[in-house]
């Protein structure tokens, strides 16, 4: 007889361990700031970097009249948006984050209190 409870339990155990980047797709690298389909205007924070703390891997960004912190972890993907320069976008690192840069952030699970899932920095 099929063990329904066992299956449900195992199912929950297995799928509770699903990583946070459910819909991550490598091509996000090549999508300029403001163009990520289905996200722009809904789940992304776009603004400018106010300050960067290189010691604890956080930065503060301003968006409109608000400011909020952004935590960067080893999972966070950082994309350098060079599309306005007509150059290919490339992967970056936290050291590329500089005060005054335009930035777009997607947070893990689309919750602003969580670390950044990815960051795009506009290069000029």
């Amino acid at each position: 007889m099929f063990k329904y409870i066992t299956v449900t339990g195992i199912f929950i155990l297995v799928f509770a361990m699903v990583p946070v980047t459910l819909a991550e797709k490598a091509t996000e690298l090549y999508i300029p700031i403001g163009k990520s389909p289905g996200l722009y205007g809904k789940y992304l924070a776009t603004g400018r970097i106010e300050k960067v703390n290189y010691q604890n891997n956080t930065l503060t960004m301003s968006s409109g009249s608000s400011s909020y912190p952004v935590e960067v972890t080893e999972r966070t993907m950082i994309f350098l948006d060079r599309s306005k320069m007509g150059q290919p976008n490339i992967y970056g690192s936290f050291s590329d984050c500089k005060q005054g840069m335009m930035i777009e952030v997607r947070f893990e699970k689309d919750e602003r209190g969580r670390p950044a899932e990815w960051i795009k920095l506009e290069m000029q």
């Binding site: 199912f11 819909a23 991550e24 797709k25 490598a26 091509t27 389909p37 289905g38 150059q87």
Partner: protein
């Protein structure tokens, strides 16, 4: 002379009887779908010449296989890596594309194109209404993480343009391609959702064929083949009676990557392992629907198995029964999957029959539309007949190559002849289309009891 003129006018009048009659204005959904169709098959997004239809052609069930690829001219945009010097390296592997219909994707990043890529088959785009939603978010593509942005089918086209349509490996938006607009994404989504079946099956079906009937029993038996655990109603969704009701379309690691002697590995070409969902991958791949399977092989994410019988037999093998998915099944049921040769054939027969039924359904729908002159241009009418012919050829091929239902195959051949007559005829197109429908109905009656 006068007689000739009268005859000519009469002929013209009769021919005009199967021009499109001015249809009622299309609803907003129909307009959006029509727009999506136009984009899907014609829009290159200022890229390398490919369109969505390059890999998802309507005449081949919206997928490609080696036999179909062999019919294409060498300058088809599918083969752009062979004639565009900017895409000669690290874009596709032409040999593996032609021989096994494998497409290159850089799912784990674009930082090492020479070594970091996967080679996957092209999934069809039929029945998408029922194969994407899950409790864990939308699942697109072979590993369920196929779309950028919000991960939806709507966003999928954006990723596809970047990966497959680019003029050079720089992939600069606005230079190497243009991104689809919001309106284009809406239209493409609407068109794709309109393809294929718009309802899930409800098993068991009252099948007539002895072997297919047994195959359906085995398919649904959670103590023997257990197929319906992951392919509820032969679709793409997990059985809601086994876990919470809305689990939907899920990913599993079924051990396909562990199969020995995979065809692409035998060539000596570089074929990196495919780690599935996420980066780094967790080894799982998305569950496809089985209704459309029998005429859309090869099978699994890497086209490693050519036939539907082979795909069924996979689940009796070591690679599956040692996989994490099988361990889940063993813990829940006390055993893996053990099916013998005759049972493999029976389950495959069931899959062939439900696929043929789906093809027959589509053919009737297309022929009905044609007979009722429910199309806006002559070209659209012709396309209905061409599609109906393709579906009918598929249904007859699927049954014949499984040694199933020779009477139904006969009716389907007769239907094909009538469709061809309708294509050639000036005056009797609607009549031939209706007769073709009768033959389709007769074929269906051989497969399943009338409801």
């Amino acid at each position: 002379m006068k007689t000739k003129l009268v005859i000519f006018c009469a002929a013209f009048f009769l021919a005009a009887c199967h021009l499109p009659s001015p249809p009622s204005p299309p609803g907003p959904d129909e307009e959006l779908i029509a727009k999506g169709k136009e984009i899907f098959f014609n829009e290159t997004f200022n890229g390398n010449g490919r369109t969505c239809g390059s890999c998802h052609p309507a005449e081949n069930n919206f997928t490609i296989d080696p036999a179909f690829i062999a019919t294409l001219p060498d300058d088809d945009p599918l083969f752009v890596a062979e004639f565009n010097p900017d895409l000669k390296e690290n874009f596709e592997n032409p040999r593996l594309m032609r021989e096994f219909s494998l497409i290159t994707e850089n799912l784990d990043g674009f930082d090492d194109l020479a070594n970091k890529f996967t080679l996957r088959g092209v999934p069809h785009t039929l029945g998408l209404r029922f194969t994407i939603d899950s409790s864990l978010g939308p699942r697109t593509g072979w590993s369920g993480d196929g779309a950028p942005g919000d991960g939806s089918l709507r966003s999928f086209a954006t990723g596809a343009v970047i990966q497959h349509f680019t003029r050079t490996l720089n992939r600069v938006a606005g230079v190497d391609f243009r991104l689809p607009t919001d309106e284009e994404l809406d239209a493409l989504e609407a068109f794709q959702f309109s393809l294929g079946r718009q309802q899930e099956l409800t098993l068991p079906l009252p099948l007539k064929g002895t072997v297919a009937k047994r195959g359906q029993e085995l398919f649904n038996d959670l103590t023997i083949a257990k197929c319906s655990a992951c392919h509820f109603n032969a679709g793409a969704n997990f059985n809601p009676n086994l876990t919470f009701p809305d689990s939907g379309n899920l990913n599993f690691n079924t051990g396909v990557e562990d199969l020995p002697d995979q065809p692409q590995d035998l060539t000596g070409e570089l074929v990196p392992p495919d780690d599935g969902f996420g980066t780094p991958g967790d080894g799982t791949f998305n569950t496809p629907s089985l209704v459309e399977a029998a005429d859309s092989g090869p099978f699994f994410h890497n086209n490693s198995i050519e036939t539907i019988e082979g795909a069924v037999a996979f689940y009796d093998g070591e690679s599956f029964n040692n996989s994490p998915a099988a361990q889940l099944l063993i813990q829940a049921t006390g055993s893996g999957i053990e099916i013998d040769g005759t049972q493999v054939v029976a389950i495959a027969a069931f899959l062939r029959v439900i696929n043929a039924l789906e093809n027959i359904r589509q053919s009737i729908e297309l022929l009905d539309k044609f007979a009722a002159k429910n199309f806006r241009t002559v070209k659209e009418g012709e396309e209905l007949l061409i599609s109906a012919l393709a579906e009918t050829k598929d249904s007859s091929m699927v049954l014949k190559s499984g040694g199933l239902h020779p009477e139904a195959v006969k009716f389907l051949y007769e239907s094909q002849k009538l469709i061809k007559k309708a294509k050639r005829s000036l005056f009797l197109r609607a009549r031939y289309a209706r007769e073709a429908i009768e033959k389709q109905d007769a074929a269906r009656n051989e497969l399943v009891e009338n409801s």
